[in-house]
């Protein structure tokens, strides 16, 4: 019961923040709302007993990605965001499509029966994640390092000021 109330509060705040991200005309405000969304999702991860992911969510998304976005906003000088129209011309079509998608998915999800398992989370979950990285998931693990390397090289190439 307490869990349900808590979930509704956290989910409602997170969704409002997400709406704020989409609606805010000022890009910096949108980024701040985005930080709120990330924090809310970290709380949801903790409620789902994925403590490692809760902490990692804050470190990666708020500590790294949100900062990156804010830096990029400052670099592109559109902070005021008072440019004519935040949305493009087909925004009402997009709105209709998205609402339709949500209603369809919601309708499907409510009817879908899931065979829930009422088991406890293993006590050494973090250790098992680590073993997964170097065991069963070793190929994606190494590919992730290549991905990060390529992203680093590519982004440096793109963002560098060449003539200085």
């Amino acid at each position: 019961m307490v869990g349900q109330i808590l979930f509704i509060i956290v989910a409602a705040i997170t969704l409002l923040m997400a709406l704020g991200t989409v609606v805010a005309r000022n890009l910096f405000h949108a980024a701040l709302f985005l930080v709120g969304v990330f924090f809310g999702i970290a709380v949801l991860f903790i409620m789902l007993e994925a403590e490692f992911l809760g902490a990692a969510q804050i470190i990666i998304y708020i500590g790294a990605i949100a900062t990156l976005i804010v830096f990029a906003i400052m670099l592109s000088k559109n902070v005021m965001g008072k440019e004519a129209g935040a949305y493009n011309r087909q925004w009402y079509l997009a709105m209709g499509g998205v609402v339709f998608f949500f209603l369809l998915m919601g309708w499907l999800l409510i009817q879908m029966p899931f065979a829930q398992v009422s088991a406890e989370v293993p006590a050494d979950a973090i250790s098992q994640i680590g073993q997964g990285f170097v065991g069963h998931f070793v190929v994606p693990f190494e590919v992730a390092s290549v991905l990060l390397l390529v992203a680093l090289v590519g982004a440096i190439m793109l963002a560098r000021e060449r003539n200085s």
Partner: protein, 119 residues
Amino acid sequence: MLTQQYGLIGVFAVIAFIFPIVTLAFTWLIRPKRPNPLKNSTYECGIETVGDAWVQFRAQYYLFALIFVVFDLEAIFLFPFAVAFNKVGWFALFEAIIFVLMLFVGLIYAWKKNALEWQ
């Protein structure tokens, strides 16, 4: 067990967030309020402000944030590995070393391309 620990963090988070707000509200009640246009103007050592403060920044800041993001992810991958370290074998250690060296190559690249210089 989990609920017991995170419950405290949750309650404490609420208190730690409300406490500064309450103090700020309290000072708002007792402090003097005599604003004037000069006092409220932007402080730049007495010189009149020129243009908007939200100026465009150089890409330098972005490059540091970029390298940081990549290494932060590396840390997130390596922390569970460090926890599981006693339970995995030599092969796993080599995999982790390859993982780290791959990103070290990225650091060397950034170094060579002068992305680590603050100009």
